[in-house]
Symmetry: C2
Subunit: 149 residues, 2 copies
């Protein structure tokens, strides 16, 4: 863990020209370490004293997702949440609806299942999105949470 030198994210090369704004957005995105919305990231950047235009945040996140370096889900309000993905494989998470804590889960069964479906159905280019939500132990998971809403 000696890396004194600032890494020049290879990610940026994937999405076009290397600019200051993109560096800053990417750094904050990685630092966020979990699902973040474009609006939240934009606000965070402003708070950090490195304001970047909202359009630019959207553009950057959208491109990262397009390049496969970000996972994308929708929260219940319809907002798009992005999560940085370092490697090529994607993962699935169990997200706490109370505090936002995300808990990675073993998704091998899902991958296999989805692959099987793809085979059997004759569909091509099958993709899947899996969202698991719940209430984590800290937020009252122990207590019998009702199934409201």
């Amino acid at each position: 863990m000696a890396p004194t030198r600032q890494r020049t994210p290879t990610e940026i090369a994937l999405i076009g020209r290397h600019t200051q704004q993109r560096s800053v957005v990417l750094a904050a995105f990685i630092r966020a370490d979990g699902f973040v919305g474009a609006q939240a990231l934009h606000a965070q950047l402003a708070a950090d004293g490195t304001p970047v235009g909202l359009s630019t945040v959207y553009r950057t996140l959208t491109r990262l997702a397009g390049a496969g370096r970000a996972d994308l889900v929708r929260d219940t309000g319809g907002e798009r949440l992005f999560r940085y993905r370092p490697g090529p494989d994607h993962r699935h998470y169990l997200i706490c609806t109370e505090c936002g804590l995300s808990h990675p889960v073993d998704s091998a069964p899902i991958e296999d299942w989805a692959d099987g479906i793809a085979q059997d159905s004759g569909f091509a280019n099958v993709r899947h999105t899996v969202e698991l939500t719940g209430v984590c132990p800290d937020c009252g998971g122990g207590q019998a949470a009702t199934e409201r809403q």
Copy 2:
């Protein structure tokens, strides 16, 4: 036009008072037989000569979903698509991104997997959303569809 008496769908009782508008919306919703957006349903109703306010369509669909009689997904544009669910159990579908064809899939493995996750994680009230998309055989599923985007 013999049926002087209109059938009184039991679904309506689940979501409140029985009104003409709700009957009409529900009938069209069931007739749609697949995923529909509130806007599309609203337009369909107008075309059918039984216009209903957009707010009412939204309210009815939202309540049906809340009562567990409708499944809900988001299309890539962020629009909410509802699908009538006759029974109490929910299902998962493989949806063609080209023509919208929906193909029910065996979701037992997913249910089991999700239940297992709920157990192991300690989270309560775990819910899951699974979306499978692909290109059906009729729309070119045979051809090696690339994995763009």
